[in-house]
Symmetry: C2
Subunit: 456 residues, 2 copies
């Protein structure tokens, strides 16, 4: 049978997978340090629930059916299912389903695959991994959680071997209040949404075309210029407030937005200097989010778009009686790795967890080699016993091909697991060693994952 | 919209998920200590490949289609896809697809969800997690790998808070050679398969009924008795060889099988005493496996069947020119957790990673509490800042409900992140502490997962 590559379903070779595992480990460890609990939801949701979220979401959904159901004798009596396309829809459903068994505010992280039937392209996959944190509460959600989310993310990015990530923050109330302050949306609420959608194209089409579209949509030239002036404001400190004030627009919703964004940026300056920027053109999902919104760019790779996005939503979930507001942010792990691995920007020191290959002198003494390996593993040193009692040169090449730094030579005829010699195959240094006490240098114990020079 | 529980798709609450994470962490750590590299394959395979494996596999397969493809304007040009129902089929495909980029023998572990459209029942799910190790080589695979697999598994089970797991080992060549030695399969090879299938029912229907079925299938009464005598042999040491010899049957294939099984059992006696048993009734997938086969029972829960199974296959994959023999074993993680969590046999010490809740004196001093948390986290201590500046009693109850053992009280008016007091809310002990140096007891740093008395 022909082996089929499926476009949009990335799979990693061993060394690449070690890079991915390192990223996922750092993400999980950081989320847990901040007291987020892990959630893993089933891969499928009722199609009806998946469709509930957005207008044309159906284009993205993979439906799931039992093949055997197609036979006439076994008509389906199950609900129609689809694979989840994000982690927010299943999280919201889980909260509603288990509200009585959870404690609120509920801090959860979720690292899972999601599936979208989109046409695959650079940085877009049909199967990919997301890493989300959200805090959800009952009825009311304190504003300080909106400042906390980007701090957790900044800590993740600071621990990863990547370039400079900038978290761009805005608050929906700033453009909304500002637009209302200059007369947009006074008679017709949809004017706000419309204006946001056009301004959101700024990075793609530039200010001149945005201005044209705004005027075509019924805004005055002066309103359009004001919208562009607001969207141009981007500051690393709190000076965005004065810059907005200088535009001479006044509205209570704008005041609320400026105060809220100031609190988030101030917290960033205190705790993660240089990680955040107030960027008033960010208009991500402003139909969905109701307060702070986040996007994230990697310096030098701005055209790849956002690697980590999210925001506050006043109604993550609702069962009619109770509403659950939340704030969350999601790292596009596969997108980020697609860039870093695709461009050779990150690399693993070896393609296996093993730090040591224990050589086998002859097949009859394999038991002695296994005893050495067992003694090393008992002290947490990953190792492997050579697959064959080949010439030592061949056994060393076996280690070298995988990047295993050390080869252990058991002493012939010795008590199993006792003294032998260990060779660092990079330097060629070979020393006597006892498997009960020998330690590799700390940096060789596990594969290391480091930034690399970009491939040519 | 109604919230839908889906039968067969288990999801865990935070404390249960901590148990699952602990199990998965121990499994991964042990696999890596033995030098297995991680593989994660896509969730989907071409349906044609999934169907290739077994006769009625189609009943189990979930097909996957883009919902948008159902419209006439967008007819599908993609290959028909289904969710994988095990990790062996995608592993074999991955080996064929990437043979040129892998180093052999290729040692891989794979911990992933799989999906089967079976009717859900106790211990059987539609979505569940498997943890597999396999070693695959090109052309030939050394026999010592067959002894290695159950040692890795025995190490996993020894590290988990569960009762006694026994790995039952057999070798296909023993029954096959024995049957040939008493005249079964001389004229018709399918008699071997047929006899194995009937003997495999021994645990379910008992020896009397098996004897009847064997005779109905054309075996003589004497042959049937010999088959039952062989299947009754079960020894923790090498005495199974003498017991088989005492039955007076002679065949070269039987000799090979006894020698191979002896090597595996001897290795078990050397390295993991008490973990393995030679059990000659094990006939798992003997149409598929060609050498050693493994099953695993948990003492006291034998009726749940095997929690970990596998074996040797001479042709895991083949591209027509090259054949890849392998040996592998798979832990049914969800089955095991279904039993342990369902019966309350295992429990987590808390429902969050956080070891410390940093109290907030008043909302205006949240920044001081955040500084304490940051100092603790910088030294790897997971913690959370209280969500509101409620009365301390309420903040302590917040920690108590989640099982967070320590509450930290920042000193009012102090430099952020400096001295405060920490209370062990279990004992009530409260002491002065410096966030730059204080450590919780090692057993409180992370949630612990321990065996529990069964629920009534």
């Amino acid at each position: 049978m022909k082996v089929t590559k499926l476009s949009g379903f990335p799979e990693y070779l061993p060394a690449e997978r070690i890079v991915e595992q390192h990223f996922l480990d750092v993400i999980r460890e950081t989320f847990e340090l901040h007291g987020f609990t892990s959630l893993e939801t089933r891969a499928v949701e009722p199609v009806e629930r998946l469709l509930g979220k957005g207008g044309d979401a159906d284009k993205e959904i993979y439906g799931v059916t039992r093949l055997a159901e197609e036979s006439v004798e076994n008509p389906s009596r199950d609900v129609a299912l689809g694979l989840h396309f994000d982690l927010t829809v299943p999280f919201a459903r889980f909260v509603l389903e288990n509200a009585g068994k959870l404690t609120f505010p509920y801090r959860r992280y979720q690292i899972q695959k999601v599936w979208r039937g989109e046409r695959p392209q650079e940085g877009r996959y049909r199967e990919f991994t997301q890493a989300d944190i959200d805090v959800v509460d009952v009825g009311e959600l304190s504003a300080h959680f909106e400042a906390e989310m980007p701090l957790v993310i900044a800590e993740v990015f600071a621990k990863l071997p990547i370039g400079r990530m900038t978290i761009q923050v805005n608050n929906r109330k700033i453009p909304e209040g500002f637009y209302r302050g200059i007369g947009i949306g006074t008679d017709d609420d949809t004017e706000i949404q419309n204006t946001l959608r056009i301004v959101d194209k700024l990075d793609k089409i530039g200010p001149a075309k945005v201005r044209t579209l705004l005027v075509e949509a019924g805004r005055t030239g002066e309103q359009a210029d004001q919208c562009l002036a607001l969207a141009a404001i981007r500051t690393e400190d709190l000076s965005f407030v004065d810059q907005v004030r200088a535009l001479g627009v006044d509205h209570p919703t704008l005041d609320e937005g400026l105060a809220a964004l100031s609190a988030v940026i101030r917290s960033g300056l205190d705790n993660a200097p240089g990680a955040m920027v107030a960027d008033l053109k960010i208009a991500r999902g402003l139909d969905y989010y109701t307060g702070t919104v986040y996007e994230t760019q990697l310096e030098g790779y701005e055209s790849w778009g956002s690697f980590c996005s999210g925001g506050r939503y006043d109604a993550l979930a609702s069962d009619g009686k109770t509403t659950y507001p939340g704030v969350g942010i999601s790292i596009g792990v596969s997108r980020l790795l697609g860039l870093l691995l695709g461009k050779g920007l990150v690399t693993a020191s070896r393609a296996t967890p093993a730090a040591v290959l224990v050589a086998v002198v002859e097949e009859d003494s394999r038991r002695e080699s296994a005893a050495v390996a067992q003694a090393l593993r008992a002290r947490g040193i990953p190792c492997e016993v050579a697959p064959t009692a080949a010439k030592f040169g061949k056994q060393i090449r076996y280690a070298d091909r995988r990047g295993i730094p050390f080869v252990w030579f058991p002493q012939e005829g010795s008590v199993p697991g006792s003294m032998g010699q260990v060779k660092d195959i990079r330097s060629g240094d070979q020393v006597d060693a006892d498997p009960a006490t020998w330690e590799p240098p700390a940096q060789d114990l596990r594969p290391s994952v480091v930034a690399a020079d970009p491939s040519p």
